[in-house]
Assembly symmetry: C2
Homo-oligomer: 294 residues x 2
């Protein structure tokens, strides 16, 4: 195999059509350059330059080999640059998982911010429930998750992105909309309830069970996605507890009523990542976002 030095030598001679000047350009003397070209021609197996004692000319084979040589040199010069960009996190690919509910609120601004901080990084988005995200982070299929607790603090590091209160979604025209005050547990104890799945939407389920007194007897549906929930409310199947950002969905036929109390029923969205970071783009992102990395 030939060497890059030989290629550079050939390109210089092909451009100067003069061994002496080419050698000067390469900061070397003429004799080794002559030998370089001879060796290259031997390796390539074809005469590339036609030279008599007065002038140097490219052969036809030399003309096309010159193109290939230039392409090789360009590629060889670009490759380390690309590698360094990726190592520094300025380029590459970031795979982000998000829960459907996080899409309403934080995803848009976050992507906007990403394109400012790491503009050359491709972002791959996947809608996944929290459990699947954690799994992806473990296997390395995911770099960053936008999900809700609980998760293993040993394995994962996180940053609280967003905290919002729960509201009660009711069909338009429902009697409760006439109340001029926040909703209390008393108000919905008779209402048919659309509830979160205990397995698929464990975070919401746990939160509601923990902070809002309600009767399981009232539960008429069990679903895992906020969007489904709000749609069912619009269809007058019952009322539901949803995060405040669900108001952004813009579904007609639903109204959202504040809940009295105010503290315990707050839901959190975290950015979560594996403490064993291998993706330089993620590293750079976290550094630039100044997330605490305890």
């Amino acid at each position: 195999m030939f060497t890059f030095d030989q290629l550079a030598g050939f390109i210089a001679v092909a451009e100067e059509l003069h061994f002496g000047r080419a050698a000067e350009r390469l900061n070397m003397t003429q004799p080794p350059l002559s030998r370089q070209i001879q060796k290259l021609e031997k390796i390539v197996g074809a005469e590339l330059l036609e030279r008599d004692n007065r002038k140097v000319e490219l052969t036809h084979a030399g003309q096309t080999f010159l193109e290939e040589a230039r392409r090789l040199m360009a590629l060889a010069e670009r490759a380390p640059v690309t590698a360094r960009r990726i190592a520094s996190g300025r380029s590459g690919m970031l795979r982000i998982g998000f829960t459907a509910a996080s899409g309403f609120s934080i995803l848009g601004p976050l992507l906007e911010e990403l394109s400012q901080i790491i503009p050359d990084v491709d972002v791959d988005l996947q809608e996944l429930v929290t459990g699947e995200q954690l799994n992806g982070l473990l296997t390395g299929e995911l770099d960053l998750g936008l999900a809700r607790p609980p998760f293993d603090k040993e394995t994962f590091d996180s940053h609280l992105l967003y905290r919002e209160s729960m509201v009660l979604a009711v069909p338009s025209g429902h009697p409760l909309t006439l109340l001029a005050r926040d909703i209390s547990p008393e108000d919905f104890k008779e209402e048919p309830l659309i509830m979160h799945s205990a397995t698929q939407a464990r975070y919401f389920y746990d939160l509601v069970v923990r902070t809002l007194p309600f009767s399981h007897a009232n539960v008429v549906h069990t679903v895992s996605q906020i969007l489904t929930m709000v749609s069912l409310v619009a269809a007058k199947r019952g009322v539901a507890f949803v995060p405040h950002s669900a108001t952004l969905l813009g579904i007609k036929g639903v109204e959202f009523l504040p809940l009295a109390g105010g503290d315990g029923e707050q839901v959190e969205l975290h950015a979560i990542w594996n403490r064993r970071i291998t993706n330089p783009a993620l590293e750079r992102l976290l550094r630039d976002l100044e997330f605490a990395m305890e």
Copy 2:
């Protein structure tokens, strides 16, 4: 700049994920391979492989650098093959000039033959009068010409491709078409004549002047292209001497009558090339066609 050996070493390690096995594959021992990779990483300016004492893994930068390295190696392996193909004339580009008249007869079969002998050679065709072809052959803008004498036998070598007789083109229904014998000079001494240009179509002009007695007083048009000539005949502007292959033009309203005599009025088409051949594709073509190369 890194070397191809370093790239090959990196590719082997990246594929085996094991220095020992990679070294074996490369027919070398493990220590120099380790150093090779270290040097490559230093040159590239990024960690490409993450290695502890138990396993080897590609970093993100390493993954993309691996692709670039493979591309480089593939390109480097292909380049000499292409160069050799061109040097041997099995590939490349052949620029052929032809006169309009030669296009009727020989060009089709010749191109057919070219695609058999040198299938990977691109053929660039240009319609040029003989003088322009000779000029192109001198400057190297043309590799082969299909033209008519005269030309300098010192500079150019040639091969007679085709010899055909001249015929008289007359409008359909012309009285001469009723003759049951070949045409003699007597027959057209009163006919209006469409003549070849003395400068632009010197070969035909000289030939006609030399071999066919006619009166300049009868000349009604002077043109340089056979096609124009035949079209004017069809428009009943007169009669014209054209090579036999003009019958292949398929222009309606024209008939072609044989001329008595038979020998002197033959026209020749030659393949002509510069004796200083630089294009390997031409060299190969001539060899394979078994043209005499005195």
